[in-house]
């Protein structure tokens, strides 16, 4: 798109040679220093609803003179105070209504409370936004046309040309909603899906996935993508890709799982889980932790996939990761571990990891009620497996005091019951006095 350079003149409507420019021309040439005021000014400016345009355009670079100093939003009804400053009418009314009798920007006391509508500014704002709107519409249509072209090309080319086409399509889809709808409407999803298979190169695969995540996929398309060879391609990119490509894969898999027809066995792949764990443990790219853990949580709900997660030794890895995660991530991790602890294999794996009990004890009443709930559940599962051994470790880690905290807190009833159960389990191995001393409390317990 050819972009006119914003004019370097300083905001005079008239320029250096004294001509009086009409509004359209002034705005067209970017005299006001607007964003890419392109060469369109045909003079036909649609009197569209200003509010609607502002919202739809959602531009980040609006000329500063159009912005209300109070709300920092474009003004739709500018009024001027006696000090000469202009504000959005509703905002300044609120300010005055709060009892302030000053001009918000100059801090001067007002000698006159009259609000003069600034019609000139209003005209400028309307015209400018209309121009931008017309341009955007044109670009969108262009995008739509170009998208159709690209899809046709995509069906024919191979090799480097294919990669280039995909890259351009990716750009369009990223920036224009019209491109997105165009792809879906013109059967682009099928074309893109057909590019995924056992012989897909990384370059092609990562671009296709990047495009697909932007689109709204119908149930049929999702089912099509769940074919084993295509899922394998996605898993490959998840394993080997750049962090952005990996995030796209996670997003795509989530989209696919969010379908009525989803069957967990289509994802029963060790490679997928290994790739997820790698993403979760990647210290170089912490922005991958949350999405990775979220997907792992969704996966761990399905019984068929739980044993796979355990097979790759994920449980101890997750436990050891917890101290380094932020609260949101910890909650997801605990959910996953809790789900895993419902199986005997999971219980065993958690018990075998020496850090499980101390970590869980530390987390009780630390972050949130949900986390406490999960930690309790995990502790119960593990301790029930080998009561003597585990309760020893747990009590040494300060479990008793924490459990008392839970019981006395405002947590849900079920948590208190679980805490009581666990307390009883642990105290079975100690005499009363020993136990009390372990609690490091002065109060007696029942």
């Amino acid at each position: 798109m050819p972009m006119l350079q914003p004019s370097k003149k300083n905001g005079f409507l008239g320029g250096g040679d004294g001509r009086v420019l009409d509004l359209d021309t002034a705005v067209k040439d970017g005299v006001l220093g607007g964003v890419g005021a392109g060469g369109l000014g045909t003079g036909v400016v649609e009197k569209l609803d200003l509010n609607k345009m502002i919202e739809e355009l959602n531009l980040s670079e609006v000329p500063s003179v159009f912005i209300c100093p109070i709300s920092l939003e474009p003004m739709t009804d500018p009024v001027t105070l006696c000090t000469g400053q202009t504000y959005e009418k509703s905002n300044i009314l609120k300010w005055l209504g709060m009892g302030h009798y000053t001009c918000p920007t100059t801090m001067q006391e007002l000698w006159d409370d009259m609000l003069t509508p600034n019609k000139t500014l209003y005209q400028l704002i309307c015209t400018w936004f209309s121009q931008q709107y017309v341009q955007m519409k044109k670009r969108s249509e262009d995008a739509q046309g170009r998208t159709s072209e690209l899809l046709t090309i995509l069906k024919k080319v191979k090799g480097q040309a294919r990669i280039q086409t995909l890259k351009e399509l990716h750009q369009l889809v990223d920036n224009h909603s019209t491109a997105r709808t165009a792809v879906v409407d013109e059967g682009g999803v099928t074309v893109l899906t057909s590019l995924l298979g056992p012989f897909t190169s990384y370059a092609v695969g990562s671009e296709v996935i990047a495009i697909l995540v932007n689109l709204t996929l119908c149930s049929d398309s999702k089912a099509n993508l769940m074919q084993p060879s295509k899922v394998s391609s996605v898993i490959d990119v998840l394993n080997e890709g750049s962090i952005d490509a990996k995030l796209n894969c996670v997003r795509l898999i989530e989209i696919l799982m969010d379908d009525k027809g989803f069957r967990a066995e289509s994802l029963s792949s060790h490679s997928l889980l290994v790739a997820l764990m790698r993403l979760i443990r990647d210290k170089r790219h912490p922005n991958g932790h949350l999405p990775g853990l979220a997907l792992l949580k969704s996966v761990s709900i399905h019984n068929e996939l739980q044993s796979l997660i355990l097979n790759i030794g994920a449980a101890p890895q997750l436990v050891e990761l917890i101290p380094f995660l932020n609260p949101e991530c910890i909650e997801l991790t605990l959910f996953t571990l809790d789900a895993l602890s419902s199986t005997s294999q999971g219980k065993q794996a958690l018990k075998d990891c020496p850090k499980t009990i101390p970590t869980m004890v530390k987390l009780l009443m630390r972050i949130s009620e949900i986390c406490t709930g999960h930690a309790l559940s995990i502790l119960l599962s593990v301790c029930k497996l080998a009561p003597e051994e585990c309760s020893l470790v747990a009590v040494e880690a300060g479990l008793a005091a924490k459990l008392l905290l839970v019981i006395q807190s405002g947590c849900r009833q079920i948590l208190k019951q679980q805490a009581a159960e666990l307390l009883k389990l642990c105290s079975l191995n100690y005499s009363d006095t020993m136990f009390i001393s372990k609690c490091k409390l002065t109060r007696t317990i029942q």
Binding site: G159, Q160, P198, F199, S201, Y202, P228, S229, D236, E240, S242, S268, S269, H270, S271, V274, R278, N311, I312, G313, Q317
Partner: protein, 382 residues
């Protein structure tokens, strides 16, 4: 005075020596630096898994292929293959006629019997006569015999090489006096690999050299003492393990174990070797075309490893379903045999048909891409 002279002479000799040593060490250093940039690939797999065919394909694709002399050198092998095939079939027919109750199927007609005995005798020699038109005619007559065709259909019990059909069809051409084997003929040729063969090549990408140099090693596939020398391949960039998936119903020569179970054991063994802890593994599920044909006729569950297989549909979908099942089994096996700290090594599965040059080229391109990305990743650039 004398001693001074002597010591001076010694001094000169010494400095010469020192210079030479320095030069040699310099050369050694340069060469080992160059060696480091060469990525080594090791072809492993049980016998008859298609390793050597892959090897030949790489030679054809990325080196100058086979020149005339090399092509001609395969003629004795091809002829030997033909004699061996017909011998196996004839002897096989005799065996089967004894073990099957419905033995009349395998009874070679009397006229052909004589031909059969003669060809069988030739086939058991160490050196074979060149194919003459008379012999060709005899072979063709015997081939047409019903018994032989019946035997062919039971080929899973015998070791009928895959090239059988191909060579018999082209018999006329192969027996011509001025015959020079085509690339395809060479690819079908079966000869047991002994020792280690290697080639060095650079993958050519769309008409320009990409700079990486690979060295591919093919070791023989027999059940010899691998554990004694496998550690010499430590530091190899990748192991290309070939598994012929159509062999799930075939039994081995040496004993009665199932081919695929043998492959499974070998794969497990290789995965557990400490020398391959950091090596990437590329699993080629080979002979896919034969697998496609077989899986619709012979159910997968005849192989112990696949006994929990449930056919889900039919036709093309069934083939895909069966293939996915086999792939999953291999994946499971891989992760079971991999300790948690090795889980980060690259592991990818490819479906191949070693005789199809285009496919091998595509597959190798993907392998190359994966290895390149791995290198970038390890260098911290990804």
């Amino acid at each position: 005075m004398g001693s001074v002279c002597c010591s001076q002479q010694h001094g000169r000799a010494d400095s010469d020596e020192i210079e030479q040593t320095a030069e040699i060490e310099d050369r050694i250093e340069r060469e080992s630096k160059a060696e480091e940039h060469i990525q080594k690939l090791l072809l492993l797999g049980s016998s008859d898994s298609g390793k050597s065919t892959i090897f030949k394909q790489i030679k054809l694709l990325f080196q100058n292929g086979f020149d005339d002399a090399e092509l001609k050198s395969y003629i004795p092998v091809i002829h030997a293959n033909i004699y061996q095939t017909i011998k196996i079939l004839f002897d096989g027919s005799k065996e089967l006629s004894q073990s099957f109750s419905d033995s009349s199927r395998f009874h070679v007609s009397d006229e052909n019997k004589e031909i059969g005995e003669r060809l069988s005798e030739i086939g058991s020699r160490l050196e074979f006569p060149y194919l003459t038109p008379e012999i060709v005619e005899e072979i063709e007559t015997l081939w047409q015999d019903n018994a032989i065709q019946e035997t062919l259909s039971c080929s899973n019990k015998l070791q009928v090489p895959h090239c059988a059909h191909y060579y018999i069809e082209n018999l006329q051409r192969l027996s011509n006096p001025g015959y020079v084997p085509t690339k395809e003929d060479v690819l079908y040729a079966r000869v047991r690999t002994t020792g280690v063969v290697e080639i060095q090549f650079s993958p050519v990408r769309e008409n320009k050299r990409s700079g990486e140099v690979y060295r591919l090693f093919d070791v023989g596939g027999q059940r010899n003492e691998k554990r004694k020398w496998i550690h010499l391949f430590e530091g190899v960039t990748a192991v290309i393990f070939c598994a012929a998936i159509n062999e799930y119903d075939q039994t081995l020569l040496e004993n009665e174990t199932n081919h695929l179970m043998e492959t499974k054991e070998l794969f497990e063994w290789v995965l557990k070797q400490p020398c391959f802890e950091k090596t990437s593994f590329m699993l080629f599920l080979n002979k896919f075309d034969l697998f496609e044909e077989k899986v619709l006729k012979v159910p997968l569950n005849v192989c112990d490893w696949f006994k929990d297989y449930q056919p889900a549909s039919s036709g093309k979908q069934e083939i895909e379903h069966a293939y996915e099942f086999v792939k999953k089994k291999f994946e499971e096996l891989y992760f079971r045999s991999t300790s948690p700290d090795c889980v980060d090594r690259v592991f990818k599965i490819y479906r191949t048909n070693a005789l199809d040059q285009k496919l091998v080229k595509k597959t190798f391109k993907l392998v190359h891409e994966t290895l390149r990305r791995r290198n970038l990743f390890e260098a911290g650039l990804l």
